[in-house]
Amino acid sequence: MAGQSDPHLSIFTPAEVEFLAEDELVEIVPNIRMDALNMICGDFGPFFPQISTKVPIWLAVALKKRGKCSIRPPEWMSVERLTHVLEAERESPREFQPLPFHYIELSKLLFEKAHDDIPDIYMVRSLIEDIRDVRFHKVEMGLEKISGRTHAVKLKNLSAMEVNIVRPFMVRALQAFYKHGSPEMIPQPELTVSRTQVLDRGPRVGFLTVAILRPHRFSNIFLVELLKICYVILVLIVIK
């Protein structure tokens, strides 16, 4: 995500989220005969022509690339199901419809590598994009409702990629609210004016990050509002 001041807040890069998604099982129809594969991540096969079997998607994509199989699109990726999900998403403004946790990564992989195995691929693609838009819009609406009284957020049925995109902003926002809204002082070393100056010039990155998250040492509310606006703009830019 561009403009992240603290790269550690986004925890996983999108590539790593995709890596996690690649272990999801998908059905393939091999067109060759191959012995069983005994791998560290599990045992798959043996493979017989025209007999479908389940393998992780990274393996399926590798076989597909070499022309050794065709991939069967998962059940949830049919035009019918997706239209149904899209309608349901539009009708329920506060809930997310149940979708596979890695639906974004899976659909992207399948579109890129197995586009001839998916019937009506353009329709499916546009449906998934619409679903993503509607869901993310709901996330943005939900973000507006976070207040000082929010102590936990429930995000039922949100998917992995959506979580990863919204994570930095949400964590920072909740933390800022917690620090400002908390009735008691956060336990920290006593801050007098002279010590504040020493801390600012401290050589350790740890204190700099801590300083950013404790804006009450500076002109507090204004800075937090400014940060919030910047993050909302950044989130919107990324989504567009």
């Binding site: 925890i11 996983f12 790593e16 890596f19 996690l20 690649e22 272990d23 060759i32 191959m34 012995d35 069983a36 594969l37 005994n38 791998m39 560290i40 991540c41 599990g42 045992d43 990274w58 393996l59 590798a62 076989l63 070499r66 050794k68 102590h151 936990a152 957020v153 429930k154 995000l155 039922k156 049925n157 949100l158 992995a160 979580v163 994570r167 949400m170 964590v171 909740l174 933390q175 917690y178 956060i186 070393p189 010590r195 020493v198 401290g202 050589p203 350790r204 990155v205 740890g206 204190f207 801590v210 998250l213």
Partner: protein
Amino acid sequence: MESQLGGRSEEEEVAAAMEAQTDVDLLKKAWRNEKAAPEILQFEAGLVQRAREQIQLLEETVEEFTENRSDDLVVPLYQMDLDRALFLLRSYLRIRLQKIEKYKVHISKTNLWNRLSEQEQRFAKRCIDIMEKHLDQSVLSRLPYGYQSMLKQSISSEEDDMVPEPQLNTYVFCKSKSDVGAFQLDDMGEEIVDLVADDLYVLRYNSIKGLVDGGRIDLV
């Protein structure tokens, strides 16, 4: 060799099947938790050891295959599996090293030290020594008396206030594996959250530390 490999992984599979999880799944879980948690978690010595053994075995197998067969199909697939497992292991160790580097003094002064493996402890000690020497030579020895400590701002400080600590009250995304029911988030009993299995929550890490340690909640 192939049947040996098959036999061994079958045994391990049966054992792992009792928990219905392969070592790769466990390593993935440990990696995710470690990445998302603000403080360093317990080192999974057994898991890392097993993973290393399996990876080594697979490496040897792949070497043999490349020499004996000219099978263009199977070898790259095994190689990919090997690469994936290696990436997980390395990333897990790397994120731990990152945390150790960041919070080395804090870790060495609390019981978090016990969460490190032997090699990590040696690494942390060397890191601290190097840092101390460097700060001393470049800055601290030239500061006025009373301000020369790496740990305290000045002699008059009561505690070690120059030591960065991990932010334990940061928010994390998590999923519970089973219903935990009504869960108290803070000491004052004001914040109660109903944790249902497989729902995604954003909570303060402090509140669920115990559950994460016990393996009942996964960080996402």
